[in-house]
């Protein structure tokens, strides 16, 4: 693969995939011959990613639109292709309750959920990161009730941003598959749980051709999980006892330090994946940002639509680019600042809603840019909340309107 085949010149080397520690884009690429191309939904791709990562324990509970992940895993097991202890408790709360000590005992643990299920786990999400349990969980982003709805909306996971979980947001089924082994690598190096978020239906149920790596290739990428500290009668250590104020304080500092290592660990995990499989995503992706006056900043599948809008605006002579955060927690502040350097206007598209505050990514970006000389003006748009459709033409209109109107501190409702 040469640079000449990569598409628009402005998207070539030096523009795409520039995370703060992102691999150079001219890395030697040798896709393995053993790769298979399959037509998969995002959910199926997640299940394939999990199968290839060889978790040993999988507690899981069904919820729309995550259920196909569960059914794919149990089907893999029934056909003898997935050698994990699958536990089917009565709730997501018990799923995460089972995940934590299973992980602390030294097994690789995977699960998946969505929306209300994630919220039911909330207490245990804190417990998992506090226990430094490197669980990997896929979450299908779905509206949070009430009222009931089933549409793509990222409020469920963004509302968990303070729980100590690393959060990734993926754009495609392929990225969903590739992110599972990557997430285990990061989780087990940092001893932090990782949540992989994929949008309901746009990613979870849409089919696309997906390269499925061979098991031995993923085995070579992801070594078995073998922690020295674990719950083991031969080791004799315990977890969860009451601690002093000072011990708690130091424990939180250690958690922060682990989080701060994550952007570099993810960049390494992604770079290594790219060298082996020919696909990388970086930590923060820049798309056609060279000389951009304005950039759209967003998460997940909205980036796919924004990409089309950016292409159309570039064709019309407008200097607009896209910045997609693949990593949201920890917020890759340095990479974001670098990605937005020299940009006059950042237009944030939030498919989520924090009542009384507005768009969550909008708040986060303003905080990340605070005090940066020459930082872009930040426009926050509540676009696609509740799964409302946001076509490319509307994104182009949002950008134009934002530039005319100037920035506001509050997020704006748009559709």
């Amino acid at each position: 693969m040469s640079h000449a085949t990569r598409g628009p010149a402005s998207a070539a080397s030096g523009d795409r995939r520039q995370g703060e520690f992102a691999p150079a884009t001219d890395t030697q690429v040798n896709p393995p011959r053993t790769t298979r191309e399959m037509l998969l939904t995002g959910n199926e791709a997640v299940a394939w990613g999990a199968r290839l990562a060889r978790p040993q324990v999988c507690p899981v509970y069904p919820i729309t639109p995550q259920t196909p992940v569960l059914e794919a895993l149990t089907a893999f097991q029934a056909e003898g292709a997935f050698d994990a202890e699958i536990i089917t408790p009565e709730s997501e709360h018990s799923v995460m309750s089972a995940c934590i000590p299973a992980s602390l005992a030294g097994t690789r643990v995977f699960t998946a959920t969505a929306s209300q299920g994630l919220l039911l786990m909330h207490e245990l999400l804190h417990y998992a990161s506090g226990a430094r349990a490197p669980i990997v969980m896929a979450n299908v982003n779905r509206t949070v009730a009430s009222p009931w709805a089933f549409w793509p909306d990222q409020t469920d996971s963004l509302a968990q941003r303070d729980t100590g979980w690393v959060q990734l947001y993926v754009e495609t089924a392929q990225e969903a598959l590739d992110s599972v082994p990557q997430a285990f690598r990061v989780a087990e190096q940092a001893l932090l749980p990782v949540m992989i978020n994929l949008d309901a239906f746009y990613v979870s149920h849409a089919m696309e051709p997906v390269d499925v790596p061979a098991q031995e290739e993923v085995d070579a990428y992801l070594p078995p999980f073998a922690p020295t500290q674990r719950l083991d009668t031969a080791v004799g250590s315990s977890w969860g006892n009451v601690v002093s104020q000072d011990m708690f304080y130091r424990h939180r500092q250690a958690l922060q330090e682990a989080m701060e290592r994550v952007p570099a660990l993810l960049a390494q995990a992604d770079g290594e994946w790219q060298r082996r499989f020919g696909r990388g995503y970086g930590v923060v992706e820049r798309y056609r940002c060279d000389d951009a006056r304005a950039v759209v900043v967003t998460l997940g599948s909205m980036a796919g639509t924004a990409r089309v809008a950016v292409d159309a605006m570039r064709d019309a002579g407008e200097a607009v680019g896209l910045v997609r955060l693949r990593l949201f927690r920890p917020l890759p502040v340095l990479a974001l600042r670098a990605a937005l350097q020299g940009v006059a206007d950042a237009v944030v598209l939030d498919r989520n809603h924090s009542p009384g505050a507005g768009g969550i990514l909008h708040q986060e970006l303003k905080a990340a840019l605070y005090g940066v000389p020459g930082a872009p003006r930040v426009h926050g748009l509540l676009a696609g909340v509740g799964g409302v459709n946001v076509p490319p033409q509307r994104i182009a209109a949002f950008v134009r309107t934002s530039l005319e109107r100037g920035p506001a501190n509050e997020s704006q409702w748009v559709r």
């Binding site: 040993q56 324990v57 507690p59 994990a84 202890e85 536990i87 089917t88 408790p89 009565e90 709730s91 709360h93 018990s94 799923v95 309750s97 089972a98 995940c99 934590i100 000590p101 299973a102 992980s103 602390l104 005992a105 030294g106 097994t107 643990v109 207490e123 245990l124 417990y127 719950l231 083991d232 009668t233 080791v235 004799g236 250590s237 315990s238 977890w239 969860g240 006892n241 009451v242 601690v243 002093s244 011990m247």
Partner: protein, 296 residues
């Protein structure tokens, strides 16, 4: 008693944080010694968690995982499956939980684990209320008992969790008491020899929460068995019932008189409690003689 005082291995260390005179530690000591060193404990917030902690110390000579209050059986399931995945099938998983974490907030996941017949021994150290928070009622608190949240006496009866667990059809469910130590140890040994979900309810009179004299814990436990308020029995596979102590020579009034939580209880209420106990005992005797299923 000497036979048990010298029981090895000593799995619960001296210097633990139990209240002086509390038979929670006595009961746990024998349960742990019987389970042995190839055991891992799940201990949710409860009196036992206080006895086990605080970091960096531990009074138990085995690994302890402290889950959230409501998740013991789910945590035990996860730990059990992880040990299975690692090939450590002989390592026992032992839950030591209180009645709040078992009868109330942890009941949902306990029922689910029992339905899946997850392989662990769940011991409920039942002191009939939220004693760690200063004695409020749980669904294990018996009829008419005064607690911080039932100052005029609890208006409803104690939940019969033992029968509910038996109704799941799990291989072994039993009640036990430190007042009948050989029976307690035998039941732990029996439970240890069985795979699948095993549930043991152990009565722990709370000196402070029940208003007992400092030296009356064991006496109260014995009276509870002798009056039939806490009968000792086993249910195997959900349908084979065995009454281990077949006589109840003591009136419930003797048991109530030991406890501040029943002080001043009206005579008609004492009689009502006696009638409840007599009826429950008759049902238990019938099941034991017929081998009837719960609810039959």
């Amino acid at each position: 008693m000497e036979r048990f005082e010298s029981r090895q291995p000593q799995m619960l260390c001296s210097g633990h944080a139990a209240c002086p005179g509390c038979i929670d530690a006595l009961s746990a000591r024998h349960i742990l010694a019987t389970m042995g060193p190839d055991t891992m404990a799940i201990i949710p917030p409860s009196c036992m968690a206080i006895i086990a902690g605080p970091q960096p110390m531990s009074s138990l000579k085995i690994p302890v995982y402290q889950p959230t209050l409501e998740s013991s059986a789910a945590a035990a399931s996860g730990l059990r499956r992880a040990l299975d995945a690692l090939g450590k099938r002989d390592t026992q998983v032992l839950v030591l939980a209180g009645d709040g974490g078992t009868y109330d907030i942890g009941f949902q996941c306990l029922s689910s684990a029992a339905e899946r017949n997850e392989d662990f021994l769940y011991v409920c150290l039942d002191n009939e209320g939220y004693m760690n928070t200063g004695a409020q009622k749980s669904s294990s608190t018996p009829h008419y008992a005064r607690t911080g949240s039932t100052p005029a006496g609890k208006t409803t009866r104690k939940k019969n969790l033992v029968e509910i667990m038996a109704a799941h059809g799990v291989p072994y469910v039993a009640t036990a008491s430190a007042s009948h130590l050989p029976d307690l140890v035998r039941k732990v040994e029996k439970a240890k020899s069985i795979r699948g979900t095993r549930f043991l309810s152990v009565l722990i009179p709370c000196l402070d929460g029940w208003g007992l004299a400092d030296d009356a814990g064991l006496t109260a436990a014995r009276y509870a068995v002798e009056c039939g308020a806490f009968p000792l029995y086993e249910v195997e596979d959900g349908h084979r019932w065995t009454l281990n102590v077949t006589a109840k020579p003591r009136p419930v009034a003797d048991y109530l008189a030991l406890q501040g939580r029943y002080r001043g209880l009206a005579p008609d209420r004492v009689e009502a409690l006696q009638s409840e106990i007599d009826a429950a005992w008759a049902l238990l005797e019938r099941r034991a003689s017929e081998g009837a299923a719960p609810g039959a």
